[in-house]
Symmetry: C2
Subunit: 167 residues, 2 copies
């Protein structure tokens, strides 16, 4: 995320910067998901990615509400981590048809988000902003649910299909 | 990881490529951890990073055993995702004083690994390599345990210390 530029001095700065990082990450995710929707050959997965795209839009709106509580104008930050994860996902969307690979990429994204939202909730509680922690918890719950759904799709059918098609 | 180069055609190819990706990732992690060991001001965290470095070396050895089962000579692959995550971690290690930020970076790494090992175990089972799945499960269990320890350290003391020091 470029977490530590010179203006990160206090814990509050760190918290704000991490929020801006995940805001950037969610925006990048909403750009990547439509390619994954186009590419998948499994209708349940297509619907899943579409649903997660709508969820991500809601998650961005939540982050915007939080940033509005904290600062006049949110600064843009970039986040090499999500850029790298999405670069991998895009390579899939560009080149391949293996839905098992698309699910793997989506789960790498989910786990990045789970890590970051988990940290943000702990930090929000630390600085006494339980109101912000509660908003972020809504998103974290959605990310866990999405990850579980992806696991279920992979192990119930998609992996077997990929294996059967290409064996 | 550059998951889908032209030589990824079958599900077995995909599985192998993902193994090589995480092999690259673990090697990069062992290069990043010593900087985090040097930088942290919390002795329990220093010990934790040192322990995880030894664990990562064991995890690399496990992956090497698996790759030796599957191929004559493992190809090098790069993985933009872990490169991005470690770029963030290195920025922290280079610039920062807040141990809370170091833990956040370490947890982003852990979750990337949890996602990838989870996928690899499912894929190993899919292709009937329960022997490989069992080896990978040892690593996944370690990653979950490390993530839990980092959460405990952050929420029991490190976040409060960062907040108090910089308030």
């Amino acid at each position: 995320m470029g977490l530590f530029s010179k203006d990160i001095v206090t814990f509050d700065d760190l918290f704000l910067h991490q929020l801006q990082d995940v805001y950037y990450a969610e925006n990048q995710i909403t750009k990547a998901l439509p390619k994954m929707v186009d590419k998948t050959t499994v209708s349940a997965l297509k619907q899943g990615f579409e649903m997660h795209l709508r969820e991500a839009e809601g998650q961005i709106a939540r982050l915007k509400r939080i940033l509005d509580l904290l600062v006049e104008k949110a600064k843009a930050v970039t986040c090499p981590a999500i850029d790298g994860i999405i670069k991998e996902a895009n390579e899939i969307a560009d080149k391949v048809v293996l839905d098992a690979g698309l699910i793997a990429s989506a789960q790498a994204v989910e786990h990045y988000e789970i890590a970051r939202y988990g940290t943000l909730i702990a930090w929000a509680n630390q600085v006494g902003r339980t109101d912000i922690a509660a908003i972020l918890k809504e998103t974290l719950d959605e990310e866990y649910a999405t990850d579980d759904k992806l696991t279920a799709m992979a192990t119930s059918s998609v992996n077997a299909k990929a294996d059967a098609v290409t064996a």
